[in-house]
Structure formats: C-alpha cells, structure tokens
C-alpha cells in the first residue's frame, strides 16, 4: 500500500496540473469565470431562503446560512460521486498508454472538487460575516479542517465509484438517483430540528453528511466549535471508504484497462 501511495506521490505534478487544467477549462471563455463559484451558490441561496424559510417557518437570516453551507458542501459531494464514477472512463486514453496508479485519476476529480469547495467557501464566509457577524470568532478556524476532511472522504469514495463505474456502466446513471435519495434523508436544505421532530434522529446522528456539514455549520451558525463526534464520524467514514477502496483496488486495479 505504501508503495502504491509513493507512486501516487511520484505522479503528483501530473494530477495537480490536470486538476488546475479542469478548473481552467471549466471557466474558459466565460465572462465571470471563477466568480461563478461564488455567484451560483449565493443566487441559489437567495431563492431558496425566500421560499423555504416561509414554508419551514424558519428565521430567514439564520436559514440562509444553513442553506448556503448546504449548497456548497452538497456541490462537493455531488462532484465526487458523479465525477468519481466517471474518473477512469474519462481517463481511458491515459490509462491505456501509461502505467500509473489509477487512484491518481479519481484524486484529480476530488482535488478539483475540493478547490471549487475552497472558492465557494468564500461566499459562505462573506455572507455569514454580513448577516451573522456576532458568530465570528476563534471557532471559525475549524472551517479550515473541512477541506482535508472532505478530501479524505472524497478520494476513497470516488476511487471506489470509479472502479465500479468502469465495470458497470449503469453506475453513473444510477448515481443521480442515489444522490437524490441521500439528499432527501440528510439535513442539507432541511433543518435538523425537522428530522428530530419527526422522530428521525438516526438520519442525523448516524449521517456522515450531517457531521461533515457540522464542521462549518457549528462555527457559522452558532459560533461554536464542531464536536469530537463530528470529527469522529468524518474520519471514521474516510477510514471505512479507504479500507473498502484498498480491498476492491487490490482485486480489480489491474483489470480495469480491459473494461475501458
């Protein structure tokens, strides 16, 4: 395993540059360019806060920060799952020519998504400073831990999906459905209290998406530090996906090329 990671590290210039290239090509020839990462979640938040705060009977100011953090983090989850399942299929031309550890291609996807997450966080921080300035404090330092946590969960997850996506071409199509299902059972837009009031505590307490979101929501919404449980769940999920990815990778890494 360490030899494998050493190969990934040796190819670092390649995947780092390709990630940057993905970002560049995403905004190539667009007038607002990278600003879209900030405009898009803000626009969506404005719209959703206006409508949903009324529907859910929530305080619009607090709810807008809830929605914005949900939008930004969910975008990352979606990019890892949807993009991850296609990581190897789209890199087929490289895979067929050069012998490199395959995980560099899923890392490329996840790194791109993480960089987008970083940029979009600026919108989240800026907006919260405007509407909830009283929450600003040392606990905001915890937000910096979101990115390594996201990367550590996202990379093995995307790698797993990429292995399966190369073999089972239905996976990218099914992913949309699965993501939607996950969205509905997670407090992404819905508030935590709605789950609790409905007696669905387990959908919050055992949901890694909730715990990942808490890393930013605890400081932004309440000026509090995330709890140890939040981190335990995040890194536990990362470890679980990691072990699973290593297990699957050991068996199928070499034969992926036949399925491309």
């Amino acid at each position: 395993m360490s030899a494998y990671l050493a190969q990934v590290w040796a190819a670092r210039y390649f995947w780092m540059h390709l990630s940057l290239s993905d970002l560049r090509s995403r905004w190539r020839r667009s007038y607002f360019g990278v600003l879209w990462t900030i405009i898009q979640p803000l626009g969506l938040t404005l719209l959703l806060s206006l409508v949903l705060s009324r529907l859910f009977g929530a305080d619009i100011v607090r709810f807008s920060v809830h929605i914005l953090s949900g939008v930004v983090v969910w975008e990352f989850v979606g990019a890892c799952c949807a993009g991850g399942s296609l990581s190897f299929v789209q890199a087929d031309a490289y895979i067929k020519q050069f012998r490199q550890p395959l995980a560099i291609y899923s890392l490329r996807t996840v790194l791109t998504a993480t960089l987008v997450l970083c940029t979009a966080s600026l919108a989240m921080l800026g907006w919260t400073l405007v509407v909830l300035p009283q929450n600003f404090g040392w606990s905001w330092l915890a937000i910096a831990t979101l990115y390594p946590a996201a990367l550590l969960i996202g990379w093995p997850l995307a790698t797993l999906l990429a292995y399966s996506g190369a073999r089972f071409r239905d996976l990218p199509h099914a992913m949309g459905l699965v993501l939607q299902a996950c969205w509905f059972v997670s407090p992404v837009y819905f508030e935590v209290r709605m789950f609790r009031e409905g007696g669905l505590d387990f959908l919050v307490d055992y949901n890694p998406i909730y715990h990942l979101l808490q890393i930013v929501r605890a400081p932004l919404l309440d000026g509090l530090w995330p709890t140890a449980t939040n981190y335990l769940f995040c890194f536990g999920t990362a470890a679980l996906f990691g072990i699973f990815a290593i297990f699957v990778g050991r068996r199928v890494e070499r034969s992926v090329i036949f399925y491309l």
Binding site: Y13, R24, S25, A93, K96, F98, R99, Q100, I257, F258
Partner: protein, 253 residues
C-alpha cells in the same frame, strides 16, 4: 542497478469476455425472444499462449505477425499495462512505450499546456518540461497553433505533437507499436531520424510492425507470433521468411 532486460516465462494472457459482452437490458430481452440457434458465443480470448522470451541489453527485436496475432498485447504486457493470467514477466530498466500516439490530450487545454501534462505523465518534472518546451514546439512545427486548444488541431497535428513530446523523454527500453507512419511526408522523414536516434540511445528496442523493410533495417532479431503463440524466435531475416510463410498459408486458407 541491473542491466536492462526483459524476461517472459510461460506467459499467458486472457482478455475477460465480460468486458466486451453486450450487457444491456435491451440486448438481453432481444436474446431471450430470438430463436436460440443464431446466438453468438463470446468466450475469453486467449491472447498470449505460453510465451517465453528473454531479451538482453543491446538487443533490437522486431515483432512480426498478422493482425490479431498478439503483437500489441505482447508489448502492452511488457509495458505493464495488461495483467497476465499466468507465467512471469520481469522487466529491468526504464520503459518508454509509444502506443496510440494521437490519444491522451486535454482537448480544451492549449498545445503548450498539453506538452506539460503529457511530459508530467511520462515522469518528467515541470521545470524539465518547460526547458524542453521550445524544442518540442519546433519539432512538431505547429507555429502559432501551439497556443490554441488541442480540439482545434487536425489529426495530423495532434499526432505530430504527441510524437514530439513522447520522443523527447527517452528510456532504457523502447517499445514501439507501428508509430512510424505518423504525419505528412516531410514530417515522416524527420520522425524517422528521430526514432533512429531514440533507438540508438535506448538499450533495448522492441518494435512491432508490418513494414518488413524497416524491421530488417532496424532489428537483428525477429519474433513471429501467431494466434498468441510464439512461432519463431531468431535472426530477423529468417523471421521475415517465417512470417511470409505464415501469411501465405493463411491467404490460401
């Protein structure tokens, strides 16, 4: 460090048929309701059968065989791309493989950016690639197009660029799969010179080709493959004879 060497011992290689079997629901329904007798059987392909070869330092080896004989599979197995299902492959030395040259570009990135990416994939560092950039641009003769996105390039331009990049970074062992037919006539002449100098620098050359002329010019040893089996291994002139005999046999069949 050991001297460059390639050693294959009783190598078998299967392509798993599940990789190319039609698996859609529609195909399955179609198969169910059709009469059973015209159903096609798809089985695992035994692409290399019990192949043993030992190639040492300084050898120039030509791979001969008809289409589908296993030449590309042989090269890709040596390059470590395809997993073997039996036997053993040992490779000592830095490998450089030139297959499917036109593939593997980022279509939205410019030619210059792609020089960097492909170079990095070949194991070079960003600084090293930037130092070689001008030389690659000059060799590919793309002029101002080098700053245009790759998707605006013609097929010939892409191959020229890919060739220029891939041949800048050398290695101890050079694996070539029919790459000498790249680009237009003037480029071909320069490409051939470049290949020759790359071959001179390399310790081992394995070249798969149908071009008997360039094989006998470049290689001393010839390996003939047929149906995944090693048919002949010896001096290139006899190998070419053997290859012609096999081709004629199949032509008369």
């Amino acid at each position: 460090m050991n001297a460059p060497r390639i050693r294959l011992l009783n190598v078998d290689l299967h392509y798993a048929c599940s990789a190319f079997k039609q698996r859609s629901l529609l195909a399955w329904i179609g198969e169910r309701f059709r009469l059973g007798d015209n159903r096609t059987q798809v089985a695992d392909i035994h692409a290399l059968r019990n192949v043993s070869v030992d190639i040492g330092q300084g050898e120039r080896v030509g791979l001969l065989g008809r289409n589908g004989a296993g030449k590309s599979t042989f090269l890709k197995a040596v390059a470590g791309l395809y997993p073997i299902s039996g036997g053993n492959i040992e490779v000592h030395g830095e490998l450089r493989a030139l297959f499917n040259l036109g593939l593997g570009f980022e279509p939205d990135a410019t030619g210059r950016e792609n020089i960097l990416y492909r170079g990095l994939l070949l194991g070079a560092t960003p600084t090293a690639m930037r130092a070689k950039e001008d030389e690659i641009v000059a060799f590919a003769a793309l002029g101002e197009y080098i700053d245009y996105p790759i998707k605006t390039y013609s097929a010939g331009m892409q191959v020229r660029l890919a060739f220029a990049i891939s041949t800048t970074v050398g290695g101890d062992i050079l694996l070539l799969d029919e790459v000498i037919g790249a680009g237009d006539a003037t480029f071909m002449v320069r490409a051939k010179q470049r290949i020759f100098s790359l071959i001179e620098q390399s310790e081992i050359l394995v070249l798969a080709s149908h071009d008997v002329g360039s094989l006998s010019a470049m290689c001393a040893r010839g390996i003939v493959l047929d149906g995944g089996r090693l048919l002949y291994d010896g001096p290139i002139s006899s190998a070419i004879e053997e290859f012609k005999r096999v081709s004629e046999l199949s032509g008369n069949r």
